[in-house]
């Protein structure tokens, strides 16, 4: 087994950006992995989307045409197994995305692959090596995959800069897989996220509060503080889950991606799915009592402080 196989991703006919990030990640280890760099796309739209995947450094684009119009976990799982059989890669990279997590672990289990999820760095020394977070990203764990001929890693989105899409000069090959009667779920419909009273993606200054605010009754206070400060109030997911705030105010992977001039975070730990929505803000200021909170790793300014005490003082200062 040799070479690197990237599993690209599309949704409703559009290539998802993580696909080209994976190409960048794969390029870094393809030579060491002693073989070709191939990028596969599975789906009804595989042939349309395929050519864009022929970025620099890619030797071949593979398409697996699925009978379903949309992602179906069991079909994708089977398609990945067919790709492993036909291409014999020693390393497979997929995105750490909702779709991948719906099928990649099942393939890893069934094929006894080397396996790690939410990987943040990849290297090669006699085989793949990977780094992933531990204890909610407060520590890093270095992994190896002894005795595995093929290793599947799901890579955290947003860390590698995306490769420039190809223009169709890289060869595209269709890989046959028997995908009839493989689906075990039936797609009914997509439901779009509901629009809210404000569009936090348009705000230049977000005051964002997390579970550190502790209680629903404290929220009006931060609404007022935001107003005095000229900020728009946004939140982390637990406040939406608890029904304290509408989902339109949620920042993160399953909420909104924001890029304000200033993102002021109060009592947000900085879980990967939260960072996915705000790490590109121009200036990030974080207030958290825990000096090890991962939010400080993306913040430009940080204060290890009690958010209520800081809020008291801000109220004073803003009059």
């Amino acid at each position: 087994m040799s070479g690197v196989l990237v599993i690209a991703e599309s949704r409703r006919g559009e290539l998802r950006e993580v696909s080209l990030e994976l190409v960048t990640a794969a390029r870094e280890v393809a030579e060491a992995a002693g073989g070709q760099l191939k990028v596969a796309i599975i789906g009804a739209d595989a042939e349309q989307v395929g050519p864009q995947l022929g970025a620099e450094g890619v030797d071949e684009v593979l398409t697996v045409t699925a009978p379903q119009q949309h992602f179906e976990a069991h079909v994708w799982q089977k398609a990945l197994e067919a790709l492993i059989d036909s291409e014999q890669p020693s390393l497979i990279l997929a995105g750490h995305t909702i779709d991948s997590l719906g099928f990649a672990p099942a393939t890893a289990a069934r094929r006894a692959l080397g396996f790690a999820t939410d990987v943040t760095a990849i290297s090669w020394a006699d085989g793949p090596r990977a780094v992933r977070g531990a204890y909610g990203d407060k520590l890093h764990s270095e992994l190896e995959f002894p005795g595995k001929e093929c290793t599947l890693l799901t890579v955290r989105p947003g860390l590698f800069s995306p490769a420039t899409p190809g223009e169709g000069s890289v060869p595209v090959r269709a890989v046959e897989a028997n995908l009839e009667n493989v689906a075990r779920t039936e797609h009914i419909e997509f439901v779009e996220a509901t629009a809210g009273d404000v569009d936090i993606t348009k705000a230049e200054f977000l005051l964002s509060i997390g579970r550190g605010v502790e209680d629903k009754d404290n929220i009006p206070r931060f609404e007022q503080l935001a107003e005095r400060f000229g900020a728009t109030l946004s939140v982390s997911r637990p406040l939406v889950d608890a029904g304290w705030m509408p989902s339109a105010r949620q920042v993160g992977q399953s909420g909104k991606t924001v890029k304000p001039r200033v993102y002021l975070a109060f009592g947000i730990s900085g879980a990967v799915q939260h960072l996915a929505g705000m790490r590109n803000a121009d200036t990030i200021i974080a207030v958290n009592t825990d000096p090890e909170a991962p939010i400080f790793s993306v913040a430009h300014y940080g204060a290890v402080a009690d958010l209520f005490e800081v809020a008291d003082e801000l109220e004073q200062a803003l009059g």
């Binding site: 990649a104 672990p105 069934r110 790690a116 990203d137 200033v262 121009d282 207030v287 300014y301």
Partner: protein, 265 residues
């Protein structure tokens, strides 16, 4: 009808944690244990399905792979209303990775032959986000990951589920039981156990098994492991944030300054 709920007792680092001298892990004195947040939602989903089902004989079984520390999590599930609990442990499982844990769970779940298996989307300490779907892979069960809406029709043995995608997009789909779902936070409002129920939980069946009881060999579990951890380290210090020190008043004053400067630029 039977629902199996795999739950995990997760460790959080307290603020001044220290690593073991050999770098292999965190000094256990600095760990705080709690039931995984996601598993409170999967537990609630299971209890609601049982409560809404007609007739008797429905069962919710919680299962964990963990040492004695994990028993507290099982007891809290029993207190909330699970019918019985199963804890699987063997010293060889210390540090077991996602595929090894899924392999052990597979042996336990197979013996129960449930209609539904409800896992959490992820555990807050390991954050694999993968144990459930790996378990489904071993058992060849239909599966849906990241479920934020669940309507189970017991008569038809069919679940209509909402799968949460990036950006808040939702896919509605249907799957036939037996099936495995991974449950997302916010799907319901997890209940609290009454003090009385907490006391009574100790009377409910809690079975402890080792690998041999499940017909598993240590070797087979070891070989299932997808990775081996070679080192645990603090993250490389990046550029890092500029820390604002001083009293809350000083911090607030600096925040106002920074905001004014950035917003006027």
């Amino acid at each position: 009808m039977k629902i199996v709920v795999p739950v995990k007792q997760v460790a959080a680092l307290d603020e001044e944690f220290e690593l073991l001298d050999d770098g292999s892990g965190v000094d256990p004195d600095f760990l705080e244990w709690d039931l995984n947040e996601w598993d409170t939602f999967s537990m609630e989903a299971a209890l609601q399905i049982r409560e809404n089902a007609d007739g008797d004989g429905h069962e919710v079984v919680v299962v964990t792979v963990g040492d004695e520390e994990a028993e507290e999590g099982l007891l809290s599930c029993l207190a909330k209303g699970a019918d019985r609990a199963l804890r699987i442990w063997d010293e060889s499982l210390q540090g077991a990775d996602v595929l090894a844990v899924a392999k052990v769970l597979a042996a336990a779940v197979e013996r129960e032959s449930p209609d539904l298996v409800l896992c959490g989307v992820q555990s807050s300490d390991a954050v694999y986000g993968a144990t459930g779907v790996a378990l489904a892979g071993y058992l060849d069960l239909p599966h849906v990951a990241v479920v934020k809406g669940l309507d189970y029709d017991a008569a038809q043995a069919t679940a209509t589920v909402e799968r949460e995608l990036e950006g808040g997009l939702v896919e509605v789909l249907r799957v036939e039981a037996p099936a495995l779902l991974t449950i997302q936070t916010g799907i319901n409002e997890p209940r609290y156990a009454t003090l009385r129920a907490i006391k009574q939980a100790r009377e409910k069946p809690l079975q402890v098994s080792d690998l041999a009881d499940l017909g598993l060999e240590e070797d087979a579990v070891g070989q299932a492991a997808g990775s081996r951890a070679v080192a645990l380290k603090p993250p490389e210090p990046g550029e890092g944030a500029e820390m604002l020190n001083g009293s809350p008043a000083a911090v607030a004053a600096r925040i106002v300054e920074i905001v004014q400067e950035r917003m006027s630029g």
